[in-house]
Symmetry: C2
Subunit: 343 residues, 2 copies
DNA sequence: TCCCATGATGTAAACCTTTACATGGATCGT
DNA sequence: ACGATCCATGTAAAGGTTTACATCATGGGA
């Protein structure tokens, strides 16, 4: 029971008085073994406390039971909950997950590519829009892979995320419904493909509301708090201010809120603000931030499930799975201030 | 280069015109192989793009190059940054990290115990005060293990964290310096050992300031936002209110702040509040929360470094490594209100 | 000049599993 | 009653690596 080294299949075979082949079959293909034998084997397993040595198994099978999850930044507040979904689903399939952290350093990415090349992982989950393997990204032969949270540029890799267009549409529709027409979009068309889609949702909403393109205010940021504040400063230097700020993500929105607060404005009475993502901070801002929630755990679960579909070789059903985003109404949105209403 | 299956050590040997043993030596013990040979081998490696198959290596060596990190809740805001430190340090040693998520479910813990028993992980990092392996925890033979973030009850497992006593002392000293004497401690003596230590720091600080034990106000919570609010309500039902709330962690402090806000009080003018941990929300509260920072990335790095010391069999130098906590002064603390000063 | 120590390399076993193939007994149909 | 078929099980090879041991050449000391 508590011997010095873990029991092997041979120990089980000896006790059950069968061959190791039979033990292996009793475990993995029980229907191929007689009932009485299976019973003996199971008892022997219980006695020895046998667990199959995953390394030997992987070596023999030529594939491991690990899924590599690569993210540029593990510390990203969006990451941890997706990880929960990924882990749960993986474990349900008997797989473990391995964490890779590239910090956008191609050198580090390359090390994970080696990992993959030596068959250490059966599949790959990518938390980044660009393959993180530097110049080898083009030629790299990858195991079955799924992008999560944002589409992967390099093509051919299925993706699970939120419907960004619909989410943005929900935000803009709320603002329209409150009576806003001059809605600034503080976006980021460069770093993430998902962000361009949010812009599309914004445009679609204003199209539907009949706000001509000429009246739209578009600013470029890079999705950080600082860039939100900067974009705000730019706006104040122009003559036309919007009544509402629709931000490409919560970080940007937080920057805008900080900037407005510093200038002495009141949210939502002077200006309305919306974000996107529903990061944990969003509910702790003053006022709390109205935003679009990413169903993070569900995204992770769904992405991992898709990966297992790919692994089992059944044709992938969908190349893109978009989950429904939820509008989370809090306190950063109200009707436009009088200044705008009398216009 | 881009052949159908990954190159093996045999491919390298053939090209370098040496035996596979020599290749293995050239890689792992280069000093045992002639310079000229080493050169040939390295060239062959470059040509084939060989990466050593970690599964075969692990099988042969009887130990893997993976470290299992088990946490009850991966989503914990404290977790992700520690993970960054853990991952960086592990990778520097050529190890990968594997994530285990127990959700306090012994059944799940048991599955990870199997993992360990089948030698799938060379070491274990525990993010929880109790071994998560259910009733088998007592007898489980574990690989070298290190507790992180909070001490592991079951003993014998070294621990890396912050100096909770010193951290709490810094918070209480700040409050004393501001002129507070009636300082309530909202604690949690049950769920985490670390929390009891914070209580010790509180007592030590008040001892030093000459505040008699009889004047101290101690409440029990469980470290959640809700429990902070509840504790506050209890206090308001008594006749003596403190001038400051020292909370065992940020979550509790946030609960207290919300409760005080709901009752119409102003922080810090009416009451001062301190937290512990410096979770991301702390800086976004209104007012921002004065707290004690856990150097999370450093803790992770240090814990993993200690684990490698254990792995390399050199006697563990320290059974407990305590990092220095930093006082982060923000806006939730000021001198006591006049009500208390005129006492 | 011969022997031995030394250093470099090769041979082969071992790590633990899975599975193609072989074996042997039982069952069934004729 | 005999051959064919099927089912349960065993035998052995293979997967890629590391390393103890064997081998062989080289050079130095006597």
């Amino acid at each position: 029971m508590s011997t010095s080294s873990p029991a092997t299949i041979e120990d089980v075979a000896r006790i059950a008085q069968v061959s190791i082949a039979t033990v292996s079959r009793a475990i993995h293909t029980p229907e191929k073994v007689a009932n009485s034998t299976r019973l003996k084997v199971n008892q022997a397993i219980a006695i020895t406390g046998y667990t199959t040595n995953a390394m030997a198994r992987s070596l023999r099978l030529g594939r491991s039971n690990m899924i590599l999850v690569v993210a540029p930044d593990i510390g990203d507040p969006n990451f941890s909950n997706i990880l929960v979904g990924l882990e749960n689903e993986a474990r349900a399939h008997g797989y473990g997950i391995l964490i890779g952290h590239t910090q956008n350093d191609p050198q580090r990415g390359l090390e994970y590519l080696k990992f993959l090349n030596s068959n250490q992982a059966a599949g790959l989950i990518l938390f980044t829009g660009i393959l993180p393997f530097g110049h080898q990204s083009m030629t790299a032969r990858l195991p079955p892979s799924v992008g999560v949270f944002e589409p992967v540029y390099n093509g051919g890799i299925p993706y699970v995320g939120v419907d960004d267009i619909e989410g943005a549409r929900k935000a803009v529709d709320l603002l329209i419904a409150e009576g806003h027409r001059k809605i600034a979009f503080i976006g980021d068309s460069r770093t993430r493909l998902a962000y361009s889609r949010r812009r599309q949702g914004y445009d679609a909403g204003l199209d539907a509301a009949g706000v001509p393109a000429g009246e739209r205010i578009i600013l470029e940021g890079d999705g950080t708090i600082e860039s939100g504040r900067l974009a705000l400063e730019q706006l104040f230097m122009r003559d036309t201010l919007p009544s509402a700020f629709m931000c490409v993500n919560d970080q940007t929105a937080i920057g805008v809120m900080i900037g407005l607060g510093a200038r002495g404005y009141d949210i939502p009475n002077d200006f309305s603000v919306t974000g996107f993502d529903d990061v944990p901070q969003a509910s702790f801002m003053t006022p709390s931030l109205t935003t679009i929630r990413q169903p993070r755990t569900a995204i992770g679960k769904s992405a991992m499930a898709l990966l297992f579909e790919l692994l089992s070789d059944s044709e992938p059903t969908d190349t893109e799975i978009l989950l429904r985003p939820d509008l989370i109404v809090r306190n950063s949105v109200s009707a436009p201030s009088r200044r705008f209403q009398k216009r």
